[in-house]
Subunit: 278 residues, 4 copies
């Protein structure tokens, strides 16, 4: 019976790679529904994402692909599976709400296991959608104590992705190291402009004519993680920083959800502090 | 010695096509610098654009590729060559001027053989750039007589592409049939909105909040040719149609030049009334 | 005690109008917090929106303004008041959901009285937000019978605005005449391109490189009502019409909510088949 | 006989200002063709730009306006006059060329007195347009010596505006102080991102998905001057920094020319490190 899989390969570029990979697909009798490749000139790294259909065993396909690519290569044969995500939030509802609506609509290829927040503000909204809301306050405890509680709460889920939907706390290197390449954040500025606190206030004070938002993976370097998607909207002198903040919400939520869908569809490769988005 | 070529293939999709093509490249010892493919689901047509480097004979490469693709396939192995273009214009200078500046700067991989116009307005501008200006007035003669003169003027050049840089006359089916897939036009609206005369006036009267421009190949169906590139800018109630026209010029010229560069770089496949742009 | 009002004036332009109006404000000791004017050159119509604060009686202010403007002038002195809206929908949740989230968040200066739909699909979503969901099926009855039921359901509310959040039925002239200038629609194309059924399919078949959405007031001329807001996103040959539809949802919902906020804030004047948006 | 003037007023906000100003216009029998106001909430400063027509003496109008505004107010009554500009450039032709084409076309309400460059690259292009090209090399002399030569060359013109069309040298505080609020620059990034050298390389290394350009007035703080206009274009992982640079040129030139036209039309107020753009 015909199955479908996403095949993701990233490795050192090597002469004949496309030929060797397509030969494996050919030998397996697979149809290539879509195929995108990219070679990064600086690092000479090769990236490929193929969607193949046919009658195959994924382990065997993965093994045979591994044989013909350079050692140390990342080969993933992914058959359809809903990913599991947990959302971290604080008190703003627009980004979280956008994800909840999409989830309820069946648009996201994922299950939301829980929403964890350091405020209680969003409890009501989350529970309207019958999703567990976990309140972990951060007051009167150290950052480390708070993150320990977070980690304990997360532990019980087998998480593919953590989505920071306007989670207004900084995560420590320790926390991030537990979820390497698995934390997606929306930053409320057109990075790398306005790193740090209250980007809209900074934007207002600088007098910019365009504001934006940036979805990126979280790494140890705050606001320096690999960017997945960005977008902008025009502003003018009539906008004070609260107007910018209000207008910015629409960009934030749309950019975050766009990045989330890209990640859920296995379209994003992390390459150092950059991304390849197919 | 290492050469470089663009390999363009479009054909009926067929099992094993990527494997067979990449095998030819592999057997020739070619490096694939970049490679993009697309299969149109409706028509089951396959499109590929590869840039390859190596030591090869282009005729032999082309022949060997032809052997492994379905009959009737379009295979082109294009080694670097400056294309020859002629620009048709009327009286507006922005789109023409933009191309002239890029040409003078060496940005365009093309030689401008001549500018032909049905008005004399642009003579001075064109001659500043030491490019032949050919004035073929259209007054007091029939459309057919005018086009005959045009065709005669064009005949002496071995043209790859005709660029209509705000050429304000409609070309007949007869003229177009002489340059199938070789005429590039900029339409001053976001097609298919505002087909026909004075799109800015139509846009103003409709009260739109965004205007745009469309670069497309010219076919017998006026304003219905395959679209290559489009872009837009916001307008508001303070714009009368002349303000829209003025603001629109920047979009027109940038979109036309973007499409021109895409075509000169062999990045555009025509597929019925659509384009595949790699 | 200081009050705040929006003063909206639209009338035939007349020499000294700004002077006369600002004199009334001055005589009342009002502060002008913001003030925007526009004179349409074609119709010689004058539009003004001022936000004033001070200690005043709104009826008396309105009367005094009426005295100094030309006869037949529309003068509205609007003191803060939450507007009442009803949403009409069919089965898609993105535009409706976006409004519900904003409403729950307190972003909208309006109360949602009810959601009325011709399908039951959205019942669950609407009731999660404790908003009445009224199901009025359209099957097996005439358009007129269906609209009669609609009108009856609407009757009980004192509605300021009806929002069509992807309501997929055409309203008759009779229905529209009951809510002149009070029905807001989101059209899933960059109007006036792709009027009529399934704009995304039309867009796909035309091979456009940009798609968009249009929020407009509904008039008797289908898809011809005054446009309030439009926006677009890029697409390419890899998008089939369902991909366009999916990508288009983000534009639709953001444009609709932007227009809705503009209308709720009394920032939109209808002027023939156009709008003035302050 | 009817004259036209732009009236620009910026001052401390004060109760009754609009009334008093419009009364002066009324007493002079002037028609207000367009009128825009803005009050900055933070600084309580009032800005107004009116276009008036009528039969008036500009000095007398200016005097009468000065009488009714707070002391220290900036009142300018500007009757139509072509401004004089000098362009500074280095070696890139796109921004300069764009201005030259617009100038030749009569689009700019300005005379280009000269182009001054620290390289000879653009000599040929400038002279094609019969505009004086002044070559002032910067090699082997100090920054101060070079600027002295620049200032001497500029001295002979009665300049309204200096346009830096990709002038790749930093101007000293001394130079800038000679032309306060009269130097317009295009920065090849979406400020404040990528301040400093080679923004495209920085953008490439950061892995952004959007690049932009910023037109701003030059002040002593490098890249910190008041922003007039900004725009952006999308990029992706296939762009190396030279591709970004090439793509960025279109944004740079369009944004610079847009800002130039705004300034020439007296639509830009400088307000600290920001601008009010009417």
């Amino acid at each position: 019976m015909a199955k479908r899989a996403r095949v993701l390969i990233d490795c050192k570029d090597k002469h004949g790679l496309v030929y060797r990979i397509s030969k494996v697909f050919y030998d397996y009798g697979l149809n290539i529904d879509s195929n995108r490749e990219f070679v990064d000139k600086d690092s000479r790294k090769f990236f490929m994402r193929s969607v193949v259909t046919g009658d195959f065993d994924e382990n065997s396909l993965q093994n045979d692909l591994c044989k013909i690519v350079p050692e140390g290569t990342n080969v993933r044969v992914i058959t359809p599976r809903r990913k599991k995500i947990v959302i971290l939030a604080t008190k703003e509802s627009h980004a979280l709400g956008d994800i909840l609506i999409r989830h309820a609509d069946g648009e996201l290829d994922a299950d939301i296991e829980a929403v964890i927040a350091n405020r209680e503000t969003l409890k009501d909204l989350v529970e309207r959608f019958d999703i567990p809301f976990i309140y972990i306050p951060a007051e009167d405890i150290s950052r480390e104590e708070h993150e320990e509680k977070l980690l304990k709460a997360l532990e019980i889920y087998d998480i593919d992705l953590i989505v920071l939907a306007k989670y207004m706390r900084i995560l420590t290197a320790n926390f991030v190291s537990n979820y390497q390449g698995k934390i997606l954040n929306i930053h409320h500025s057109f990075l790398p402009a306005f790193i740090g606190a209250n980007p809209y206030k900074q934007a207002y004070e600088r007098g910019v004519k365009i504001i934006g938002a940036t979805a990126h993976f979280v790494t140890n370097d705050l606001d320096e993680g690999p960017i997945i998607a960005q977008d902008v909207i025009p502003v003018n002198h009539r906008f004070d920083w609260k107007d910018m903040q209000k207008a910015g919400r629409d960009v934030e939520k749309v950019v975050l959800s766009r990045a989330l869908n890209l990640v859920l569809n296995d379209r994003v490769f992390i390459h150092g502090n950059k991304t390849i988005v197919f």
